[in-house]
Symmetry: C2
Subunit: 326 residues, 2 copies
């Protein structure tokens, strides 16, 4: 535990993150109280991240904090929920000092404000192991309006938000790959790996229409496979349709094999959607209004397999369907 001590850490650095949440009692009680808007229900999700597994221990502390929160907000986005708050357990190794905690909580505070998602409570413990951050995020949707993984039908359009593959390529950059890439492209990809953009507005706009949705954390192919599995359908992904950033295109120009990373690498935190053809235009319009491009990249079909077609309509063989939680 840093010099600050647990109680001062809570009082000085964590309690301010509970601003605008009267039911957090300024983090002075054992628990928080929370009411839900009339006619709504709660949406609950929990993602944990571990130094050396999900991020590098020497990543900037503010970005570690923001990603830990955002991967949870991304789940809320995929379910069509509006964030209402979060709880956080921090397991801190001895090496963490007060400065680290200040930068960490400053970054977290920025996202608490950005997403109107206050800290409601949590726990801080010492660990002889790596820094571990476990966040439970709470959102709300109109009762019965949570979007599910199941519900995709054969004939639905498969769409994704934003661009795909940047985060996996950014992780490669962090590990020293793609030597010839420009510094600006490297930084772009690294930023996309470190600070995902939860597509909350898009998800909330979808919550009233027929769709299946999840956020792409395990990798595009694996996650489309999750929708298929829960919906009892198959899917076809057309590589030529994938929305790619300029930086990702620059990588692929010199390292064409990196398409496998784009298809199976994790950490995009974009949404993958199944949309009835009649809703496509409206969904893309919702995206545009919220600053997110929604791109059709394939379709759902009978069967259960995820097939990836290259630009010539040939099926690609993928060595690994996706990220299996290193």
């Amino acid at each position: 535990m840093p010099r600050l001590g647990e109680f001062e850490f809570i009082r000085q650095l964590l309690a301010p993150l509970s601003r605008n949440a009267p039911g957090a009692f300024n983090l002075t009680d054992d628990a928080a109280a929370l009411s839900i808007s009339h006619g709504h229900e709660l949406v609950l999700t929990k993602d944990a991240v571990v130094a050396g597994v999900h991020f590098f221990a020497d990543d900037p502390p503010d970005l570690i904090a923001r990603k830990a929160l955002r991967v949870n907000l991304s789940d809320l986005a995929a379910k069509g929920a509006k964030p209402v708050g979060f709880l956080m357990a921090l397991a801190l190794p001895q090496s963490i000092d007060d400065d680290w905690l200040k930068i960490f909580t400053t970054g977290l505070g920025a996202d608490v404000d950005t997403f109107a998602c206050p800290l409601l409570g949590g726990d801080t413990v010492a660990t002889p192991g790596p820094l571990t951050i476990s966040i439970t995020a709470l959102g709300e949707v109109k009762a019965g309006h949570m979007i599910h993984r199941h519900g995709a039908l054969s004939g639905d359009i498969l769409c994704v938000s934003g661009t795909i593959g940047d985060a996996a390529l950014g992780l490669d950059v962090a590990r020293g790959s793609y030597a010839g890439l420009s510094a600006a492209n490297k930084q772009f990809l690294l930023d996309r790996y470190r600070v995902p953009q939860p597509r909350l507005s898009l998800g909330q706009a979808l919550a009233n229409r027929d769709s299946a949705c999840l956020d792409i954390s395990d990798g595009l192919c694996a996650d489309v496979g999750h929708i298929c599995e829960q919906s009892g359908v198959g899917a076809v992904i057309e590589v030529a349709q994938l929305p790619l950033s300029d930086a990702a295109r620059a990588v692929l120009q010199h390292y064409p094999d990196a398409i496998h990373r784009v298809l199976t690498g994790g950490d995009d935190y974009e949404l993958a959607l199944a949309i009835p053809p009649a809703n496509l235009a409206a969904t893309q319009d919702h995206g545009r209004k919220n600053g997110v491009i929604v791109t059709p990249i394939g379709r759902f079909v009978e069967g259960g397999a995820v097939t990836v077609l290259d630009g010539n309509g040939r099926a690609l063989a993928l060595s690994s369907p996706g990220y299996h939680h290193r």
Copy 2:
């Protein structure tokens, strides 16, 4: 990650723990949906435990699981809340195998049933560090009826549930102390350390009356101090009034200094209450009806200090006010 793999672990061993929670969707979606009873609000708490810090890595896996859940349920008990479910993040070291997971989830499942508290979701990650379990527990109370740490008044009676000090003495036993103690007494104390009893019925009975309450996790003196700090009062604890188990009495008979462990050791997970004198009889009655003895051990007074008086009315000097999260 054990041989079972993350997805089979969820499907075979975790999903059954979501029984009776339709909004957990059998753990097949990114998030859970939860409605709250009309006129109620949610109570949220989060406690994390780490092998080698909060428990021994070679403790029985079923007991590790049950304690990890119960320390959270104890917070709900202290707030007067009825459990509705929990989320769990597990960071698993390589050494954990399938058998360990089966025993762990069997123990957890027993408590899911005992406390009608289903698993709603969570996350399983690999860690190069020690086993880490982070649980977020959700309960509900009538809106506005959560019991707080603040609210104790000078003149209120200080009461505790059950017996005090067993868990700290049990931890000492686990570390090889109290050589002369009988095997039965050792086992009793060890059980009290390993499997706390969340006082849910008592807490719910209190939720309609004026009281302040918390659960004793940091140690009696430190936690009574927390009530005092939040309430702006002081407290007097009379050692002669402390409810002690036969096993604790046996320890104290041979090791009188262990009274310091009883007063400042953590992990009791009994409730400490501030009760107006007029409510004492009714509170004790509530306890009796729910199989829990409620014992007055002192009173709240003007000031801010926690004073401990021995059998002769002399103030005891305590080296440490309580458990400071090793």
